[in-house]
Amino acid sequence: MLLGFALTTHCNLRCPHCIRDDVVTVQSLEPELVIRTCDEARDIFGDVVVSFTGGEPTLHPGWDQITSALAERGIPYRLVTNGWHMRRMMPSFDRWPPSFVRVSLSGATRETHDTDRGRDSFRRVLLAVALLTSRRIPTALSIVIDRRDRHEVRLAADLAEDLGCLRLHYILPQPVPGSVARDSDLAPHEWASVRAEVDELAREPHRLTAIQLDYGAPARDGEPESACATMSSERVYVDANGRVSLCCQLSEYGFTTSDVVADLHEISFHDAWTTYVEAMAELRAKTAPSNVSGGLAAFPCMRCARALGKLDWLAQGRPSAWQAIAASAQQLGSL
C-alpha cells in the first residue's frame, strides 16, 4: 500500500495551476500522527511505502524526525518537490535517503518555468536533479502541460533524458480558479492530442527515460478505462490536517471537504480504514463511466470531482470549455 501524506500546506511558490484551495494558511502534520498512521497501516496492509507531498514537503519542520522514524522501521519513502530546497536537504537525504524523488516543472525551458515559479526556479530544478543523481537517488521529473507549455512536450522528454532521469511524468491538470483566470487550461478535446504525442515519445527507441502520462486523461481509443491506483486500493491519502481523504488529487480542491472520510486526530487509522473502504465503494459506483453522461464521462478524475461537488465553483468563473462540459454532465441513476 502506498500511504500518501500531504506533510504541509506550506509552499514557497504560488503556482497558478496549484490544486489546493488555500495556499496561504500553513498547516503541517504532526510527526507523531504520521508515524502512528504508518504503524497502523503496516498492521493492516503489511508492507507500506510512504509518499510525501504538500505544499512543499521539504518545508516540514519535523522532516528529520519523520524520516528517521521511517528508517528505523524500514519503511521506504518518496516525495514530490519543487526542488528549491534540495541543497539544504542533502545532509538529511544522506542520512535517510528517499527511495525516489519526483521534481516538478511548469515548463521545459527556463523562460516558461520561471514565468510561473519565479526567477532562478529552473536552475534550481536542474541542480536538484544533479544533487540527487550524485547520490544515486532515483529521480523523476514531472511537468504540467497546459496552454503555456503545450509546445514543450518534446523538449521536456529531451530534458529528462539529458539529465538522466529515470522517469518523466506528464500531468494534464484539472482546472482551478488560477488557471481559469488566466485561461491557461487546455480544452478537454485537446487532452487527446497530448496523450498521442506522449505515447509517440514513449515509443521512441533511443529513450532511456521512461515516459508516461499521469492518470486522468481519457482512455485511448478502443481501450477500456483502467481504475486509478486510489480506486484500486493501492494508495490511501492523508491531508495536511490529518484527515483521510478519498483522493490526493481532489483533496483541498473545489472548496468543499466532501472528500474527507475521517480525522485521524479523532479516530485511529484502523477505524478510518473501515469507513474509507465503504466511502470508496460508493464513490466508485457513483463515478463509473456508465453512471455519468455528457462530456465529462471520458475524464475519470473530473467525474470524481463532479460527484464530490468539487466543480460547482466552475459555474461562477469565466466561461471556459471545462465550464460548459461540467454543466452538461449529468449523474444517471439514483446513486
Partner: protein
C-alpha cells in the same frame, strides 16, 4: 610560475556547494561532475577570481601539502575542468 593564465567558471555551469564537496552541472551537455573537498575549494577560489598561483598558495596553507604536490594537483584539475568546458580563460 607554471600557470600564467587565469581561469573562470564557464557561464554554462551551475554549481551547488555541499559540506566537503561540490556538484557541477554543465547546462549545455547536462553532464554532472562531483568535486571533492580540494576540488570544491579550488572551484571557490576560481570563482573568486584567484590566479592559479594564488590557488596553489591557498592549498599549501589549507591542506598542508607541498608546493610541488599542490601545483601538480591544481594543474591536473584545471586541465580536466577545461576539457569538460567547465572553465574558460578569464577575459581580463
Amino acid at each position: 610560475m607554471s600557470h600564467p593564465i587565469r581561469f573562470e567558471p564557464s557561464a554554462d555551469v551551475l554549481v551547488s556547494h555541499l559540506e566537503g564537496e561540490a556538484i557541477l552541472l554543465h547546462m549545455g551537455t547536462k553532464e554532472y561532475f562531483r568535486l571533492n573537498r580540494v576540488g570544491a575549494q579550488v572551484w571557490k577560489l576560481l570563482d573568486g577570481g584567484s590566479h592559479p598561483d594564488g590557488i596553489v598558495d591557498q592549498l599549501v596553507t589549507t591542506f598542508e601539502v607541498s608546493r610541488s604536490e599542490a601545483t601538480d594537483a591544481v594543474g591536473a584539475l584545471l586541465q580536466e575542468l577545461r576539457n569538460a568546458t567547465l572553465i574558460r580563460e578569464a577575459l581580463a
